[in-house]
């Protein structure tokens, strides 16, 4: 079955149709949504469309359970950001929340029912030493103590080794870019920071502007090596595009931003895939951004098959090979070969450390 014909995508495209589903359909839908990390979103859609009473009781219980988890995470993010704002008070620069944390803290369109595992922040590269020091003082510590890993992150990546808080045990990824230093595409994180919007009530904590939220989410997704949560991220993009798409001048701004940040490629993939799979309303001229080509069709197919990894009922015979190719691709995009090969060789031969 084609991914776009699956019950999960049908439900996301036409939430109102869920009231007519029989128990067998729900049986498959709940499992697909759970696998894809979209059960909470389904719950939010059911709530938003007032379908609670039209659903089987047992299904509703699963949705309530997931919404409870999402609500809990939202409370936790607010608490975490509160601490983060305290730690960053008076720093000469902006601290941006990215993706899940930004959605939750600023109550953005994808927030309802969405779950996530860590908090991502973006800071100007010049502030990195000070940010790290302030975080350490406030109780966050680094996870990778191995000197190779530390060097790998600090020299080549766009983030510090992941940190976690000693008391609250929450994890935090500190980024100074949205792509690795060594990546094939070069972008301008300074412009994202410059255009960011303040998060009211949280000192100098910011979130990316609307267009940049979409560009960052798209860039993150289409550089990804693991695709089982691809559908979740695609659905985030759908939520963002649907709610910002009707704002005046939004599409022109998005296009201009994509050009300025050199992220037309990921945006093109995002627009085509959300349009094909989720019926996201997108102006025709935006879809003509990239010329149709064999390469483009091949990549679109690769992403579609890769996203089938969310649940075994969504997988096609091409899902495994696609996942493999996407994994290779993610590394290829991250680093040139003369860096990548020694790195993979080191990772493959290193003995597991004794914790």
């Amino acid at each position: 079955m084609r991914l776009s014909d699956s019950i999960l995508l049908r439900a996301l495209r036409e939430p109102a149709g869920m009231k007519g589903y029989d128990p067998e359909t729900w049986d498959l839908l709940v499992r697909q949504a759970h696998g894809a990390g979209l059960l909470g979103r389904l719950g939010a859609l059911v709530r938003a469309h007032g379908l609670d009473n039209a659903l089987p009781k047992s299904v509703l219980r699963h949705l309530h359970a997931m919404l409870s988890i999402a609500d809990r995470q939202r409370t936790a993010v607010h608490w975490e950001v509160h601490h983060l704002a305290d730690a960053m008070e008076g720093i000469q620069g902006r601290v941006l929340l990215l993706k899940g944390a930004a959605y939750a803290a600023a109550n953005l369109p994808p927030a309802e029912g969405r779950t996530f595992s860590d908090i991502d922040i973006l800071v100007p590269k010049r502030l990195l030493p000070e940010v790290e020091l302030r975080l350490t003082v406030a109780g966050w510590v680094t996870t990778h103590r191995d000197s190779y890993d530390q060097r790998y992150y600090r020299k080549w990546m766009h983030e510090l080794p992941p940190m976690f808080h000693l008391e609250r045990e929450t994890s935090l990824d500190v980024h100074h870019g949205i792509l690795p230093e060594t990546a094939r595409i070069r972008t301008r994180p300074d412009l994202i920071i410059e255009a960011a919007l303040p998060l009211p009530g949280y000192g100098n904590i910011y979130i990316p502007c609307q267009a940049d939220q979409i560009l960052h989410s798209a860039t993150h997704l289409f550089h990804e090596g693991e695709w089982w949560h691809g559908l979740r991220d695609l659905s985030d993009l759908d939520c963002l595009l649907r709610s910002y798409g009707c704002l005046p001048d939004f599409w022109a701004t998005l296009l201009a931003r994509a050009r300025a940040l050199n992220l037309l490629g990921p945006l093109g993939y995002a627009l085509r895939l959300t349009r094909t799979l989720l019926d996201t309303p997108i102006p025709v001229e935006m879809l003509k951004l990239t010329r149709s080509s064999f390469r483009r069709s091949f990549m679109d197919a690769l992403f579609r098959h890769g996203m089938g990894a969310a649940h075994h009922s969504l997988a096609t015979p091409l899902t495994r090979p696609s996942e493999f190719l996407l994994y290779i691709r993610s590394h290829w995009l991250k680093m040139p070969l003369h860096l990548l090969l020694p790195h993979l060789l080191y990772k493959a031969t290193r003995k597991e450390e004794i914790a």
Binding site: P23, W26, D27, R61, H64, M66, S68, R72, H311, H312
Partner: protein, 299 residues
């Protein structure tokens, strides 16, 4: 239709394709080729309703692992909808692994309920919650009470419904460990138990078949009335002493599976439950005396 009505051979076939078993509010679709699972279900789940389709809460599988360990010191693995959350276990722990796996499915997913680590029994419309410190003798006491006419709601998981604050029955078999297996056999020679699984992480375990009446009434929720903290002590005379409600609240909060996760709702459900309950500590050495005290409590 009840499980025993299938007959052993049809049950075997159904387990290969997927048996849909109803236990309280949950339906689990079980696939297994393990003989231990077949005999365990046949022996202990006879009275439970089974279904042929519809929505299932959990899609589980208990089967031999592939590769060398299929044949040499065979192992089984528990699967939930394609994922394998646990390390494989020796093949003869298959039924115990299904029981623990199903408990895990509930405690890890059923956040519609406030879930406490406690046994729940009922008589005369009054539910007794037994929070259990490990080694306190909770399962043994539960088994003895169930074999003496108390209705079994659960031996491990107290589920409090967020919609009405009532306790939700599961009515699944009682998990007995080590010495308590023989104690219960001596207490009630007619008690039906599953096969023993030796050398599990809990020692030797066996499951006690729930009474037919508890299974028949598993859709009937119960009103919380008592919280009793049991403690077995050699040669102690049975003694019921008051336990502070505030402490019972804190105990429930810290021993719940999802108190934090439910936030305000967890607090409200817990508070409403404790408000309704009389709380006691209970020290005992003989099961027959314990049963007498509990019968007086709910009369």
């Amino acid at each position: 239709m009840k499980l025993y009505e299938l007959g052993l051979e049809t049950l075997r076939q159904q387990l290969h394709e997927g048996l849909i078993l109803e236990t309280g509010p949950f339906r689990s679709r079980i696939v297994s080729h393990a003989p231990e699972v077949l005999s365990g279900l046949w022996r202990l789940y006879g009275e439970f309703p089974i279904h042929t389709g519809g929505f299932c809460d959990f899609h589980v599988r208990v089967d031999r692992v592939s590769g060398l360990r299929r044949w040499w010191r065979p192992q089984i693995t528990f699967g939930l909808d394609g994922g394998e959350p646990f390390k494989p276990l020796p093949a003869d722990h298959a039924f115990a692994s299904l029981e623990w796996g199903l408990n895990w499915c509930i405690s890890g997913h059923a956040h519609h309920y406030l879930m406490l680590h406690a046994a729940v029994l009922e008589r005369n419309g009054l539910a007794v919650i037994l929070p259990g410190e490990p080694g306190a003798g909770k399962s043994t006491l539960t088994a003895a009470l169930v074999l003496s006419g108390f209705r079994l709601l659960s031996d491990e998981l107290a589920l409090i419904d967020r919609d009405d604050g009532l306790l939700v029955p599961l009515a699944r078999p009682v998990n007995l460990k080590n010495a308590s297996i023989d104690i219960i056999r001596a207490f009630s020679p007619g008690a039906v138990m599953g096969e023993l699984a030796h050398d599990t992480h809990k020692g030797t375990v066996a499951h006690l078949k729930p009474p037919a009446d508890s299974v028949a009434r598993m859709a009937e929720k119960a009103l919380p009335a008592f919280i009793v903290f049991p403690r077995w002590k050699a040669d102690a005379a049975p003694r019921l002493t008051p336990h502070s409600q505030a402490d019972a609240f804190m105990h429930a909060a810290t021993h719940a599976f999802n108190y934090d996760l439910l936030g305000r709702l967890g607090f409200d459900l817990n508070a409403a439950m404790v408000d309704r309950c009389e709380c006691f500590d209970f020290e005992y050495s003989r099961l027959s005396e314990a049963v007498r005290i509990f019968s007086d409590l709910v009369s």
